[in-house]
Symmetry: none
Subunit: 200 residues, 4 copies
Amino acid sequence: MGNTDVRKPVQKRSIETKEKILKAGFELICEKGYYNTNTAEIAKVANVSTGIVYQYFKDKHDILVESLQKYGDSIFYPMLKVSAKDLYDANLDKILRNMIKKFIKNHKLSQYAHKEIMAMVHSDEDVAEIYHHSEIQMTDNLSKIFTDIGIPEQDLREKAHITIHLIDDICHEVVYHRHSSMNYDVMIDLTIKTIINLLN
Amino acid sequence: MGNTDVRKPVQKRSIETKEKILKAGFELICEKGYYNTNTAEIAKVANVSTGIVYQYFKDKHDILVESLQKYGDSIFYPMLKVSAKDLYDANLDKILRNMIKKFIKNHKLSQYAHKEIMAMVHSDEDVAEIYHHSEIQMTDNLSKIFTDIGIPEQDLREKAHITIHLIDDICHEVVYHRHSSMNYDVMIDLTIKTIINLLN
Amino acid sequence: MGNTDVRKPVQKRSIETKEKILKAGFELICEKGYYNTNTAEIAKVANVSTGIVYQYFKDKHDILVESLQKYGDSIFYPMLKVSAKDLYDANLDKILRNMIKKFIKNHKLSQYAHKEIMAMVHSDEDVAEIYHHSEIQMTDNLSKIFTDIGIPEQDLREKAHITIHLIDDICHEVVYHRHSSMNYDVMIDLTIKTIINLLN
Amino acid sequence: MGNTDVRKPVQKRSIETKEKILKAGFELICEKGYYNTNTAEIAKVANVSTGIVYQYFKDKHDILVESLQKYGDSIFYPMLKVSAKDLYDANLDKILRNMIKKFIKNHKLSQYAHKEIMAMVHSDEDVAEIYHHSEIQMTDNLSKIFTDIGIPEQDLREKAHITIHLIDDICHEVVYHRHSSMNYDVMIDLTIKTIINLLN
DNA sequence: TATGAATGAGTCTTCATTCAT
DNA sequence: AATGAATGAAGACTCATTCAT
């Protein structure tokens, strides 16, 4: 009888509360990491009481999982959020440069998140599943983009996958900017050239 | 308070004890992650008492740092431990294939470690320093290898850096083998081809 | 890390809990000393969980400081809690005798406290500040009492200070009653006579 | 058979070792307090190993007790170490001033000790016994001095006792010098005057 | 006698989670 | 639906004491 399970909010107010928690949780975890974020803080940032958190989420881990399901893509592959407009001129070099630019611009949320979440992929089945689902989808997205602009079909998904990693790497390199001895403009050019070569 | 500095072991027994703790700590952290490993467990696996840990290490974090300094390379860049023999035939394709093979063979330790440590790079200055030091060194190593086998000098360090990431990515892809829809043999071939192209 | 500041209780229940902890902490510290009292015990005596203690106090030391701020005067200068009634007859001898009597009657709390706290004055800046603030206030109080009953103003604060110590000493002497060879009635008389002489 | 008790050193080297521990322990405890001093530190300052400490002392507490027995007087009543020379001119005012001067000069060791030890008097029977034995002896000493310089015998021990406290108080006042609003020269003069009056 | 490495019980503190209101 | 006070298990770290050498 007693419905002590996690509540599935239907009322508008409920939905908003859950949303606030999810957002606060995601932001804090991204910023400081899962283990350095506590539920009291999440509640505080979400502007709700600590108790209410457990009416919408089974436990802390659940907040992580649900927030990843909701916002994960934005940290996993921010550079792949290419709009139709970006693809309009169908110039591969431009498209790739756009992706990199976009990533760098939006990297705020990803500061800590990307790597930390990746780490959890190895210890947490739920996180792993979300991540790989996201990865496949992104690969498919990119494959489709490539098809659209006339890249030959052969091994396309494998190529897309490598491309994603190449972009991801150069982006992180630039964003975190750790190597003073490295010329980033050269690296970006090299990366783009490499991808274009890979695709042809 | 107190003058209980961290002990610098000189006697043989001391050195062994510190070694045991370091090894146990590193293995557990790699396997389960830093936050999921507690000092009592490290002591237990090392077969020592909890107290002794703090005679050799300032705190738990210190175990992480020292173990990374000691064993870090093996998780950061296992594929770059190329021997002179590997370079003997001077065939780039073979060298790269060897690296990948070596990585895959030795990935045991890296299970959890690589990603988690990378995550900490963003929250932990000490870890960041060790990692980036390692990264630079690996880039230099690879640059030297490339020079040795006659790759032109231009932008060599940038190219080496991209190469490392390409190898790293494909290795993880294969080791964790997540994507049933992906043909790994093709990916390896593509990666090697891409690198060779990049270098010429 | 985290934003778990110390809570400032506003609700009635909160205030009571904090009060209970403060009281338990103070009593235990007085009875057994700061270092021989542990937080688990404080919580137990206060009839709360160990965790809640740290919602109201930053740490164990904070319990000491706050309890001193609240109850300190009662152990530092119990004899100076003279009421207006005590001063009514304006007889110095009677006033002093009253102080001593009052101290002896109320010495329960001070069993361990007075000396231990005094000891901490030398190692603990916070305790020192509270104590000296209390000391000054007591000196001022007594000066005022003296002025009220017509003692000449010259060097009055210095005289009050010496007076306080003389009373304090005789009180402790009597309360702890260590010296079988000493006649306490004589000592009290001598002390009072000495003070009266000092003031004129 | 096995003589596992605490060793009574007879050989010269043994005696010296024990001495070193005693001295180091006493100094550290005086300086930082009993609870803030650990045995490892005592051993280090004494320049011996941690293990050897337990061949000469039953436990940490034993170090405290024995060191108090040996050096206690110097912190309990440093001002009473009057030499025959000091008494030569038989001027009470001068004698008392000398005591105060001597105390202030030698207060180094007493920094922390006096109060802390006093605190322990209330929780530690052994310390209590030592302290009170010392107190009685000092009272007797001073009584004898007073007799020697012709102070009338009546209630002499009680007077000596009060005198000791008066000197003790003024000395601490001056040494720790906390009250900017207090004129210490005046206080010293008042104290001496008070004592002289008390004795006549 | 002496060393100093090792022990492990004890202490403070944190935090995910529950509960009374 | 919501609050926030309360819980208590768990973890990092300390230190008096013992033990192998």
